[in-house]
């Protein structure tokens, strides 16, 4: 088994070594459905990007995408008051940064919503819908699927050489 594969396996087993400058090419993080969890995630994402010497701008864009998607899930996705788990995956493979958010909230395809009118006059500006629009604009590709009762929101962007 290659060294890289062993590293990946370690991370899969929950030993996330970021911050210790082990070049893990993938991190898996579980969050609770609480808004302050987004700040905890942001720190882990920043560490991942900085460990891989990726530009701050990319780190900012991925954190904004995670924030917008997870804020939607936490704010509108659940019909009970129970604690739920939201799984976040982030990986770097040959310059391609891929991310996925998986949750057991009600089925919701954010890509189905129309884009907001960003040329409207101030008074007519839509208040909602901007978050998902940011993700579409900032990423190379976005995808949604519902599988086994869970929403999977995938997005990726290639790091410029």
């Amino acid at each position: 088994m290659s060294n890289q594969h062993r590293l990946k396996d370690n991370v899969h087993n929950g030993a996330v070594h970021i911050g210790l400058h082990v070049m893990a090419s993938r991190i898996d993080i579980s969050l609770k459905n609480k808004l302050p969890e987004i700040h905890r995630l942001a720190e882990l994402v920043e560490a991942f990007f900085s460990d891989h010497a990726l530009p701050d701008r990319l780190s900012h864009n991925f954190n904004l995408a995670f924030d917008e998607i997870i804020t939607n899930i936490v704010s509108y996705g659940y019909e009970d008051e129970a604690e739920h788990r939201i799984d976040v995956h982030l990986s770097l493979t040959d310059g391609l940064i891929e991310a996925e958010v998986v949750d057991d909230a009600k089925a919701f395809d954010p890509l189905n919503a129309p884009d907001p009118d960003i040329t409207a006059e101030l008074e007519d500006r839509p208040i909602g819908g901007l978050g998902v629009f940011f993700v579409k604009k900032l990423m190379d590709e976005v995808r949604y699927k519902r599988e086994n009762g869970r929403n999977h929101f995938y997005f990726c962007k290639r790091a410029s050489p």
Binding site: L35, L122, E123
Partner: protein
């Protein structure tokens, strides 16, 4: 996040520090709305120490600007960091907000 309020004559300068996102304090939104609703308000929002703005933050700024305009007042934003400016640009809000690089110019524009 933090919010500092200063009065320069009839202009109020609000300096925000930290992140403007879905975790921002309710107190900040409430206070900003109070300032924006004052008839003929003259308001500057200094974002020089804001490192991050999400759509939740933009929503509050958009509401504030609308309220000031509805009360025939003037409002300007200033010192927006590049990564935050990108979010303003994508949302199209750069075109409808009055934005200045320097705080002094923003204060003059609403005076």
């Amino acid at each position: 996040m933090e919010m500092i309020e200063e009065s320069l004559g009839k202009t109020v300068v609000v300096t925000v520090k930290g992140r403007l996102d879905s975790n921002m304090s309710k107190g900040f939104e409430t206070r900003l709305m109070e300032l924006s609703e004052a008839p003929g308000a003259s308001l500057v929002i200094d974002l020089g120490e804001v490192s991050y703005v999400s759509s939740a933050g933009l929503r509050v700024l958009l509401l504030a600007v609308r309220k000031v305009k509805a009360g025939k007042g003037k409002v300007a934003l200033c010192a927006i960091q590049p990564q935050v400016k990108e979010v303003f640009d994508i949302s199209g809000l750069s075109a409808v907000f009055s934005i200045h690089p320097a705080r002094e110019a923003a204060v003059q524009s609403v005076g």
